[in-house]
């Protein structure tokens, strides 16, 4: 198994496209998305019950080498600043296959 960083981004569902575009631009090896995430934060309740996705979040998970965390985080930060959301980085072991 190989040590990697596990980056978890929870952001407004309307920004999902943008986050993916950013990650692809940085040529991450891959990412996973959970589209329907609700929650609560500084910007109030995201109940996910409206017709547009204005009150819904999405979660993006990407595992990457420790080295590329910095550039990913720097690329995501402006989105978080503009639209809210959180980004968590943690350690993990990647099962090589």
């Amino acid at each position: 198994m190989e040590s990697v960083k596990r980056i978890e981004i929870i952001i407004d569902a309307n920004e999902l496209r943008e986050v993916c575009r950013v990650l692809e631009a940085l040529e991450v090896s891959g990412y996973s998305v959970i589209r329907d995430v609700t929650g609560r934060g500084d910007r109030g309740v995201q109940s996910g019950d409206d017709l547009t996705d204005v009150f819904k979040n999405s979660l993006v998970l990407t595992a990457c080498p420790a080295g590329s965390v910095a550039e990913i985080v720097d690329a995501i930060r402006p989105l978080l600043r503009a639209h809210g959301g959180i980004c968590l980085v943690s350690d993990a072991q990647w099962v090589i296959h």
Binding site: R43, T52, D53, F55, A82
Partner: protein, 322 residues
């Protein structure tokens, strides 16, 4: 007689189900219509109303009245956001003022549908091609709102490209389905109408009831959750539709519309968008707070129009037209 109208409106099943939805929230029932069912119902409604409108357009053709009405619709959609913006900018700041301008300059398809449902309920005739006016009024206010935010804003968020914005405004999902179904209806005409009638007309009112049940749930929840809404917002959300209704009625009179068409044109002016616009604002004016412009349109103006506004406007029209 006007009271009678009010009651007639409240006795219309879709309105009753909308009220039932609000009641469920107030009584803290755990009733919910889980996503994406409401999204699917919305697509169905846009599909059906667009298609039927297109068929009517096919029948009527683009005669001068149709064209003048569409022109007037565009005019209203262009004027309304501007005056709202300058009305609100001092009090609410440029971003929110621009977002609210776009919201109230655009239209609410569901309110429009509720109006047609009321007219059918009362047996008042109206022109199906009015849907085309609705389709035309969805997008312009979005663009105007963003332009105003740019022009008078602190230049933030100006990073976003125009192509993106125009796509959001003119090709967003709901506008696209409505426009597309309208065109398809206009292409296929009566033949298409006959084969789709059981789907687009037969079950329409029933689906509308379920959809409004959900709208009741959502708007009551929004109202309960909205912490950024003050008396100022509430009064605007009630007075704006009245003011715009007056504008709509005036234009309708000038255009010599029938009573039914006048109500539809009026509700287009008086309604505010909570489907097409918020998504666009969220991305084009991120500094504006969805916690302000969405509850205003969805939790205040929409219920006001559906429960009280529609019969009032119609009563006035009846008075003036006779």
């Amino acid at each position: 007689m006007d009271a009678a109208l009010l009651l007639a409106n409240l006795a219309n099943p879709p309105v009753l189900f909308f009220f039932l939805g609000m009641l469920a929230v107030w009584m803290r029932s755990d009733l919910e219509i889980p996503q994406p069912i409401p999204k699917a119902l919305a697509i169905y409604l846009l599909f059906a109303i667009g298609f039927k409108g297109g068929v009517e357009l096919h029948k009527s053709g683009f005669d001068t009245q149709v064209i003048t009405v569409l022109g007037a619709a565009l005019l209203a959609a262009a004027v309304v956001p501007v005056w709202i913006f300058f009305l609100l900018r001092r009090r609410l700041g440029v971003p929110n003022a621009a977002a609210i301008a776009a919201t109230y300059g655009s239209v609410s398809a569901v309110t429009f549908i509720a109006a047609t449902s009321l007219l059918t309920h009362l047996g008042v005739a109206f022109s199906g091609w009015m849907v085309a006016a609705m389709a035309l009024m969805e997008s312009p206010a979005i663009v105007i709102g963003v332009v105003l935010a740019r022009r008078f804003g602190d230049g933030q968020g100006s990073s976003i490209e125009w192509s993106e914005l125009l796509r959001e405004a003119f090709f967003n999902g709901s506008v696209f389905v409505l426009m597309g179904s309208l065109v398809i209806g206009a292409i296929t005409g009566e033949s298409g109408e006959k084969s789709l009638a059981p789907f687009t007309s037969g079950i329409f009112k029933g689906v509308l009831c379920l959809f409004l049940l959900d709208m009741g749930l959502v708007s009551a929840r929004r109202l309960a959750a909205s912490r950024e809404i003050g008396l100022y917002h509430v009064s605007f959300a009630v007075l704006a539709p009245l003011a715009h209704a007056a504008l709509g009625i005036a234009l309708s009179a000038l255009l010599g519309l029938s009573a039914g068409d006048a109500l539809l044109f009026t509700i287009l002016c008086a309604s505010a968008s909570y489907i097409a616009v918020p998504a666009a604002m969220r991305f084009a004016i991120p500094q504006a707070s969805p916690g302000v412009y969405v509850p205003m349109a969805l939790a205040l103006t929409f219920p006001f129009n559906v429960l009280i506004g529609l019969p009032i406007y119609l009563a006035i029209i009846n008075r003036l037209w006779n």
